[in-house]
Assembly symmetry: C2
Amino acid sequence: MAFGYYGTMRTVPGKRDEVVEILLGGVDELRAAGCSVYAVALPDDDPDLISVSEVWESADQHAASLQLPRTKAAVAAAMPMLTGEFTGTRSTVVGGLGVA
Amino acid sequence: MAFGYYGTMRTVPGKRDEVVEILLGGVDELRAAGCSVYAVALPDDDPDLISVSEVWESADQHAASLQLPRTKAAVAAAMPMLTGEFTGTRSTVVGGLGVA
């Protein structure tokens, strides 16, 4: 079964666009790493929040991706622009569209 | 820009699998309706919750899909198996993988 993740991060006011750029910088590598969906989105009615919806072939592949040099560099670059307020939900994806 | 939606629904204990089946019953129609991602998932550590992550070409197409006879029938069939506890976040998808 595929692995799903939905998370949000709060950015320092005025820094949301910069963090989005960082999040989108390594997208090309993700498919080869086992990711089928990586949707970076701006929730309505909150100017400082970013959400990320992800579907991976397995939880192991998701965990491995967090160890990629590109990922670690992105986290380091974004961290000073984040307030530290995160949410995250891990799940098992049981079906749908675009999730294979 | 694409439209994103992330929502959860709580099912009556023991009814989660039945609701999942209903949610997955009309998936074939969704792509033609403008949907690129529709991920039905079971959040870890909560036996009665279902999450749905969606990406649509536009908010209008998402709204129109809710008026499809198949959608209305699915909602009617699932409703008695839901507790009425819902969450939902609407967003603008700014990029990623699998979201076009």
